[in-house]
């Protein structure tokens, strides 16, 4: 275990942490940009969790935001109604949300490939309807307003301003560190095996369903933590904050940045999360630009922004050799044989 922890503290990660904190400090003079940055940090956390599911395991979970919503409503309910500390309420709500997530996901975890994505889309719809319908727990589509920010235990004050931004930055970093540790553990290897070939994974003794359940649970934890932080950071929670479109946009960050690469989703979140905020005055063009950007990336950079750049950079030193060799043989293009 210690080995994995040690490998989690890589120069890359430290650099990322430093950059994130620097960015937070630099923009903290402007509360608007700080807010957008805070949302971006939560998006990074969510994208890291989604990457674990989609990128490493090949499970496209479109119920992600719904699970985040369960945790958000749980946390808010425990804090505002029962007077719990955020730091007690959040873990309870996150665990609850992850358990509900696994129970709802159970039938679809047996589904192969893309069918899982489609059925998770239906699960998300059920959750969204539930958020509106169970008005006693969620206040329906009115939403819950004036949600207090997390308290700093034993001090009587709560996180606000730059403190909250740093908390979110830390959470984003922690999520990346956790993803790194998981990706480099035997568990992570099993997940990759499942993504690459479920039948082969089983043939070499990997319990596919159990590992899928486990990763679904872990991914739901990310969703839940993000949900609790999101609701308290925005100060408002409503079914619209945790709907199918939210799930899709988190998933898009991963696909846009590059599935299965460690940094890809971070890049995806950094680019896509601020776009809607930055284009708030351009209401007529915004969706079209967003859509065109997505199409452009999938057509021109099928591996995602980061994935494609990475492949490009890796080829660079060998470019000459590659060009001179082009006439002979068939070099590996990394495509997958399918039977």
């Amino acid at each position: 275990m210690r080995r994995y922890l040690r490998s989690a503290i890589t120069p890359q990660l430290l650099l990322l942490l430093a950059a994130a904190i620097a960015l937070a400090v630099v923009v903290s003079g402007n509360r608007f940009f700080a807010f957008v940055l805070g949302i971006t940090m939560i998006s990074i956390l969510w994208a890291a969790g989604m990457n674990l599911l989609t990128g490493y395991t090949g499970l496209v979970s479109l119920a992600f935001a719904g699970i985040a919503g369960i945790s958000a409503y749980g946390t808010v309910g425990l804090v505002m109604r029962c007077g719990w500390s955020f730091w007690l309420a959040m873990p309870v709500a996150v665990l609850g949300a992850a358990v509900v997530g696994v129970l709802l996901g159970l039938p679809s975890l047996r589904l192969k490939g893309f069918y899982f994505a489609l059925s998770s889309l239906v699960i998300q719809t059920v959750l969204s309807l539930g958020f509106v319908y169970f008005i006693g727990l969620t206040n329906g589509d009115t939403g819950i307003s004036q949600i207090p920010p997390p308290d700093i235990p034993l001090t009587g004050v709560s996180f606000h301003g730059i403190g909250f931004d740093l908390l979110l930055t830390f959470a984003a970093w922690l999520s990346l560190a956790a993803t790194w540790a998981i990706a480099h553990s035997p568990f992570g290897r099993r997940l990759v095996a499942i993504r690459e070939d479920e039948v082969l994974a089983e043939a070499i003794g990997i319990d596919v369903i159990r590992n899928k359940m486990l990763v679904f649970f872990v991914g739901s934890l990310y969703a839940g933590v993000g949900g609790a932080l999101y609701a308290t950071y925005v100060g408002f929670a409503s079914p619209r904050s945790f709907d199918l479109l939210s799930s899709l946009s988190i998933w898009l960050m991963v696909a846009f940045g590059g599935r299965g690469t460690f940094m890809g989703p971070v890049v995806g979140a950094l680019i896509l999360a601020p776009v809607p905020f930055m284009l708030q005055q351009y209401d007529t063009l915004k969706d079209v630009i967003y859509g065109a950007l997505i199409i452009a990336v999938i057509v021109l950079m099928p591996g995602g922004v980061y994935g494609t750049l990475l492949a490009y950079v890796r080829r660079l030193p060998s470019l000459k050799r590659y060009l001179s060799k082009q006439r002979g043989g068939v070099p590996n293009d990394g495509s997958v044989r399918r039977s």
């Binding site: 589509d141 999101y230 930055m278 915004k286 630009i289 021109l300 495509s335």
Partner: protein, 409 residues
């Protein structure tokens, strides 16, 4: 992807990346801050639903507001300074709305916020406004929580939805003593509040509820429910469904032999009234402003005529409230004598004016709630692009008449 894409497509890839980075980099400059200085324009932040599922209402509101904005500019602005509205799209998404509020507050240092037409969006901005002490004038959101006890900076122009229900029950009782009423409504905050008000007041008015049907959002057919309602033989059917489903439900009720005179629409917006079609003539609807009212002022008529000419439809209460909101803000600034948030808030609190378009008085209680009122109209005719209606009923009440905060949480 094959390798020839890697070589020949390299420039394309860089182009896309450059485009992405450019989008990121350029976007903030679009939102360059405009600092309000003495002698400079007074800026109000207008956040509304210009895209997403509520775009129709947000856009309608914006259109109403723009008429007033132009008129105020022609009249010489306010305190000899131009009054401008900075428009932001919240995409019908609460987080976007909060971000927009923050942007307008921090970047543009606006005097006040206004704009949303959807209750949950308004409530999200409400949280920000109260916490950061930014005055917030809500033109078209009917949720009572916006003015719950202890509210300081938020002012609600539209009567609250529980009150709509109260007015509806009073209206039904006035039409027929001991009437049987059926309710059909969509699962949303507005409809839940309205029906809570109806149920509360119906008991007092000896109106019995014979059917109570709640539809989930995204419903598309109401035939079976219409049959259930028809089987319950009500005197009136109160509809609080939304958008296209509202029209579908109305038509299916009519198909099943319910008379138009028995139907009460919660509220009448022009496009929906036209959508009901000619067979709906005779049905009733609630409203707060209507082109067919006798008390429309000369300015009101001019607004209606100009609006019809430019937009091609009759303005309804939404456009009217957004038009009036600009004047409410203007009057409060004049009263405050400058662009100071606290003084503006105090001026709003003690405001005493009438709506320029209809002469209905406007004043707010200590929580920012308005003296409430409602009309009930009957459709008398529908043409291709216009309709006629007559007033059947009018009621006024004080916000504290109803235990609003017990009825909705």
């Amino acid at each position: 992807m094959s390798r020839d894409t890697v070589t020949s497509g390299a420039w394309r890839q860089s182009a896309v990346t450059a485009f992405a980075i450019a989008c990121m980099g350029l976007a903030p400059f679009g939102a360059a801050p405009a600092v309000a200085q003495s002698g400079e324009p007074i800026t109000i932040g207008f956040i509304s639903e210009l895209s997403g599922p509520y775009s129709f209402f947000g856009t309608s509101c914006k259109q109403g507001l723009e008429f007033a904005e132009k008129k105020i500019a022609a009249e010489g602005g306010v305190l000899n300074r131009p009054l401008t509205f900075k428009v932001m799209d919240d995409q019908t998404n609460p987080a976007q709305a909060v971000a927009a509020a923050r942007s307008l507050d921090v970047q543009d240092n606006v005097l006040a916020l206004t704009g949303p037409t959807s209750s949950d969006i308004a409530l999200a901005i409400y949280g920000y406004a109260e916490q950061n002490k930014v005055p917030f004038v809500v033109p078209v959101a009917a949720f009572a929580q916006l003015t719950k006890p202890g509210t300081k900076y938020t002012f609600r122009v539209e009567p609250d939805a529980v009150g709509w229900g109260y007015a509806a029950a009073k209206f039904v009782a006035a039409r027929k003593a001991g009437a049987k009423l059926a309710l059909m409504y969509t699962d949303n905050a507005l409809a839940r509040a309205i029906t809570a008000g109806i149920k509360y007041q119906a008991e007092k008015e000896n109106v019995s509820i014979v059917a109570d049907i709640l539809f989930p959002q995204g419903s598309n057919d109401a035939t079976v429910q219409a049959a259930q309602v028809a089987a319950a033989k009500p005197d009136f059917v109160y509809l609080a469904t939304v958008g296209a489903f509202d029209v579908t439900t109305t038509n299916q009720l009519l198909d099943l032999g319910i008379k138009p005179e028995q139907i009460i629409h919660n509220v009448g917006a022009t496009s929906t009234l036209l959508g009901y079609g000619a067979r709906s003539v005779g049905s009733n609807y609630g409203t707060f402003f209507d082109a067919n009212l006798d008390n429309v002022t000369a300015e009101g008529h001019k607004f209606i005529d100009d609006f019809v000419q430019q937009v091609g439809r009759i303005p309804s209460y939404v456009e009217n409230y957004c038009y009036n909101t600009a004047y409410i803000i203007k009057t409060a600034i004049e009263k405050a004598g400058g662009a100071d948030r606290e003084k503006f808030r105090d001026a709003m609190s003690s405001l005493n004016m009438v709506e320029p378009t209809s002469g209905v008085p406007i004043s707010f209680d200590k929580n920012g709630a308005r003296k409430e009122y409602m009309y009930y109209m009957q459709l008398t005719g529908i043409a291709a692009k216009s309709y006629t209606a007559k007033r059947l009923f009018y009621i006024e009440w004080a916000p504290e008449t109803l235990p609003v905060y017990d009825l909705v949480k």
